[in-house]
Amino acid sequence: MTRSGEEQLVASQNRDGGWGAQEGRASSTEITALATLALGRLDTPAARASATHGVRWLAARQHDDGGWPVSARVDEGSWATALAVLALNALGHEPARAVRGARWLVRRVPRTLGMASSLLHRFAPSSLAVRLDPDLKGWAWTADAASFVEPTCYVLLALKGLRRQLQGAAVAERIDEAERMVYDRMCRDGGWNYGNSTVLEAELWPYADVTALALLALADHPGREANQRSLRALRGMLQRVDSGLSVAWATLCFAAYGEDPAPWRRRLVERYAQNGFLGETRAVALALLALTGGAEVFRT
């Protein structure tokens, strides 16, 4: 699949150098970052040329303040900044841009639920409709919104990869609090969904892709009980989930935790042969990463 995935990514690159979620869609920062990351690790002339073009797309879209928009069609800096930072840092291109992006992320503070929710959480937690600590801050999808698991995990991966360049207590404190926020949102039997473990007393179920991503972001704490419980939960979920996206994230996750990724890689290859991941560029890029030892990109 490595060859055909590479060919698919190269062929689906837009003329502006970026990638969209599917072939023909406008270039987006998230997808361009992941495709560039995947191709940038391959040693073929076509992949190298394509990745160079991707890096140029990313460099040209960074705002003066350091953030990236989700696409060229949207003005505001966005959650996708974390993925641009991650890609540029992992490939060793444009290091100053990566650091500037990371600083933008550190300045970005999510909305919290306010004093009333905070007091209720402390003194009458069962009166809250959602079971979470409303004071813990991670990162949000958009400005003026609350913390959620997936954007927080992307930022954790980006900032942890740049720890040496981002020295200072403020960064360490943001990372520590964001980790606590992610653990706080974990589902009862392990694993994560978008960010609520319980709503109106009902337990919500975890998602395989988010669980694997969260475990990657927390991979520097492999021995914690929560990590181990979530690894078990992820294995259970993968008995029912076969999609390229989920299995690719899971392969990267298991490799980061020192497990043999070979069986998961075989599943990825089989699935790709079956349905091409329905043409989803993100899944193809992550699968390429998973097949080429890309877990090191996410090493925290």
């Binding site: 969209g20 009333a116 959620f148």
Partner: protein, 331 residues
């Protein structure tokens, strides 16, 4: 959710303050271009006992009751696909989507595509394959558009309940000749009910607004439903999957409730009001529906010509969470 209630309360206080200051309680909060309320609306309730091959004829019969001009038109079907729950009734049934694809084609539509932007779940490949929708799309050679990742354009809001100013909306919808909302007949633990208007939350691209589309929750669910529906500049139709609905803690963790009905209409407000009555829920007590009834469509029974099955023949007493017991107080 605390977010919603707090935002809701803040919005209500702000609205109250503004109204008092201007001495004009209930002043319109919509643009003139957003007004779509007809003098009368037609809603059809058709009986459908099962998710099988006979559904095509039922859907076709429903479409013909409205005399839609579909020849050579681009039709976008927007079902409600939230998450895959093998034991649940969370999503619009794929067999109904299949029947709608076939029926719209037989009625003359040139292009029929299926489009959805799930609010929580990003693994589209899993959602499509596990729910069986992908098999339907393949069998009927129909394109699927992931609205979460579609190209999007900003549009000025048609009403001003959220204060967001504009919303990015997917080009696939903006270029359609007809947008067909195909919700499941469900209760909803924040909004009361989720029907064809609430189903339009799935039109908002997650790539821009996130999963969930949290900024809309801060702005208020009711407010967001109104602003999204007043802003979509596309002719609308609705087909509600009420063959088996969901009661209790919907939209995900409720229980199945058989109703045996499909609800059709070209006024989504009237469709939702009728579908709510089918669940024995008072639509006038659903805040977004009551407000939509002022400019987007009709909720008053006297202004709705209900055809097909009499509502009383198929009405079911859908259970609601205790916090929504007031919705049933008209019974």
């Amino acid at each position: 959710m605390r977010l919603d209630r707090r935002a809701f309360l803040a919005g209500a206080l702000a609205a109250g303050a503004i109204s008092t200051a201007h001495g004009c309680v209930n002043a319109p909060r919509w643009e003139r271009r957003a007004v779509r309320q007809p003098s009368r609306s037609r809603v059809a309730i058709l009986s459908a006992g099962a998710y099988d091959g006979r559904l095509v004829d039922v859907v076709l019969r429903g479409l013909r009751l409205f005399g839609l001009a579909l020849t050579a038109k681009r039709v976008v079907l927007k079902p409600n696909f939230v998450e895959h729950d093998p034991n649940g009734v969370v999503n619009t049934h794929p067999a109904l989507v299949a029947a709608a694809i076939e029926a719209f084609r037989r009625a003359g539509a040139r292009h029929v595509v299926v489009a959805e932007g799930p609010g929580h779940y990003r693994d589209t490949e899993h959602l499509l394959t596990a729910t069986g929708l992908h098999a339907v799309l393949r069998e009927h050679r129909t394109r699927y558009v992931d609205l979460n990742n579609d190209n999007a354009r900003p549009l000025r809001l048609g009403s001003h309940y959220t204060g967001l100013g504009h919303l990015y909306l997917p080009e696939t919808l903006l270029e359609a000749d007809l947008l067909v909302s195909m919700p499941k007949l469900k209760t909803h633990h924040w909004a009361g009910v989720t029907l064809s208007l609430k189903n339009m939350f799935g039109c908002i691209p997650g790539a821009i607004y996130g999963w969930p589309k949290n900024v809309l929750h801060w702005a208020g669910i009711h407010e967001s439903i109104l602003d999204i529906n007043s802003t979509l500049p596309v002719p609308r139709f609705a087909i509600v999957d009420g063959i088996v609905g969901m009661e209790g803690n919907g939209p995900i963790q409720g229980e199945a409730r058989r109703c045996g009905a499909l609800v059709f209409g070209d006024d989504p407000v009237a469709v939702d009001a009728t579908a709510a009555r089918l669940m024995t829920i008072d639509p006038r007590k659903i805040r977004y529906l009551e407000e939509a009834g002022r400019f987007l469509g009709n909720i008053v029974e006297e202004r709705i010509d209900q055809v097909g099955e009499p509502i009383d023949r198929l009405r079911q007493d859908f259970r609601v969470l205790p916090r929504f017991s007031a919705l049933k107080s008209f019974v």
